[in-house]
């Protein structure tokens, strides 16, 4: 729709008054916001402030893509949600919250995972994309889809105390297209090298800062006000408060839109990021088998790789060597008999075993399938898991 034809109700004019009275912004910019359609991919740490500020600003149509449900551990930073939303699909909870903030906008929700099969058709209907995802395969997917469709991609990412932001694939008033993610990082790090927020942690307020900056850049892209962060890459260290704005350029070797483009359609991003690597099989036993060994008096060692606070809640008498310290405590792990490695569900213990086998050549390790939760269910229901 042509922004100049956009009309506002009396209520809207009152609501957006503080935008409209800024001399360099005005009704014209507000009309552009109302006429625009923005797709926000991810409604978590970054997505929350992006969505809140874009809804508040009066973006006419906002699409939200997320397949996740609200979890307790999200509430430290995902300020779209509260206690009452735990367990609900994020997009549904987000829609309710945002609609109550601004009833004059349209919210489209997509309770799905963005994939190579649906990304183009989803993004096609929107003017600008804001990337609030949390993993490398999806970031490359969003980037490539935006370049193939000619859409601006307002990108940011965070890790522990650091954040980055840039505006990719932006076409300026002279028709020049700026760099995109592949110009900055041609290939992703090997799978497992850079932890996710769930594994490495993140200071809750940090995505609030970067996501707010993303909302700012979306508004600038749509209204044409100010200088969009295209061809520039802003990096922020929350601890030292150091920040730098680096100059970045398009790379002629970019396979998407360099001098000789070779990528003309979306690819398998998990394969590209090495996430699909086949995991080496490890030995496993289940809780019933473990109990058999115990009852029969078999000679073996059990190691628990959970954290001390988890051990305090409930344990089965195993030797505690938290996951992060396993490689430094190899001497405590027996080589001459069977060793069972246990955690809460069997996930972390599997990781510990793979590392020990790869780096130290252990051949006597068994993963407790189902972890302590499985053991409580199948062997010792009298052990509490209610506080776990």
């Amino acid at each position: 729709m042509n922004p100049q034809n956009i009309k506002f109700s009396r209520e809207e004019l009152s609501r957006y008054n503080r935008h409209i009275i800024i001399p360099d912004f005005g009704l014209e910019a507000q009309q552009k916001l109302k006429a625009s359609k923005v797709l926000v991919i991810g409604s978590g740490g970054l997505g929350s402030p992006i969505l809140l500020y874009l809804a508040a600003a009066g973006i006419g149509t906002i699409g939200i893509v997320d397949f996740d449900v609200v979890d307790d551990s999200n509430l430290q930073r995902q300020i779209l949600f509260g206690v009452n939303e735990v367990g609900q699909p994020k997009v549904e909870a987000a829609k309710r919250r945002l609609q109550s903030l601004n009833p004059y906008i349209t919210l489209n929700v997509y309770n799905i995972q963005l994939t190579s099969k649906n990304a183009l058709s989803l993004i096609q209907d929107y003017d600008v994309v804001a990337d609030g995802t949390d993993n490398f395969p999806t970031r490359y997917l969003v980037n490539d889809a935006c370049v193939l469709l000619g859409k601006t991609n307002v990108y940011a990412s965070i890790f522990q105390f650091e954040g980055q932001i840039s505006v990719f694939n932006y076409r300026n008033s002279k028709g020049e297209v700026g760099p995109n993610y592949r110009d900055l990082y041609a290939t992703p790090p090997p799978a497992g090298l850079v932890p996710s927020c769930a594994e490495g942690g993140v200071l809750g307020v940090l995505p609030g800062i970067l996501g707010s900056l993303q909302a700012l850049e979306v508004i600038k892209v749509i209204t044409g006000v100010g200088e969009v962060l295209s061809g520039r890459f802003f990096s922020f260290d929350a601890l030292s408060f150091e920040s730098r704005t680096f100059n970045i350029k398009r790379n002629p070797a970019n396979p998407l839109n360099g001098t000789n483009p070779t990528i003309k359609e979306l690819i398998d991003y998990e394969q590209f990021c090495g996430v699909k690597a086949v995991e080496k099989k490890i030995k496993e036993i289940n809780a019933i088998e473990l109990n058999d060994w115990q009852v029969r008096g078999e000679d073996f060692q059990i190691i628990d790789v959970r954290e001390p606070y988890e051990y305090e809640i409930v344990n089965i008498g195993a030797e505690l060597i938290p996951l992060g310290t396993v490689l430094d405590n190899v001497s405590k792990i027996a080589r001459n008999k069977k060793v069972v490695v246990q955690c809460k569900t069997g996930n972390r213990s599997g990781k510990a075993i793979r590392e020990l086998e790869e780096k130290f050549g252990f051949e006597n390790l068994y993963n407790l399938k189902g972890g302590i939760l499985g053991y409580i269910d199948d062997v010792k229901p009298e052990l509490t898991k209610s506080k776990y």
Binding site: G47, I158, F159, E162, D237, N247, K249
Partner: protein, 90 residues
Amino acid sequence: MATVFIPTPLRKFTNTTPKVEIQGSTVLEVINTLTVNFPDLKRHLVNADGKIPSFINIFVDDNDIRNLQQEQTAVKENTIISIVPAIAGG
């Protein structure tokens, strides 16, 4: 002496130091001296071919070394070298 900013994910290999002063006349010399002083950094900053992996960007002041002279980019007194790895959290 150039100042090298160490990104958060790599600070565990520099005893949590966020900035290090290193002598060198090119980016390569600075990176080599850095990895001699902090050997655990080496496997993250230099791959098997002796090159900086493409998921790590190095900026000399505000510019990407890939737009300058790559590892041969000159380094002067007061040059700031920023190591910026790819991160994906959101």
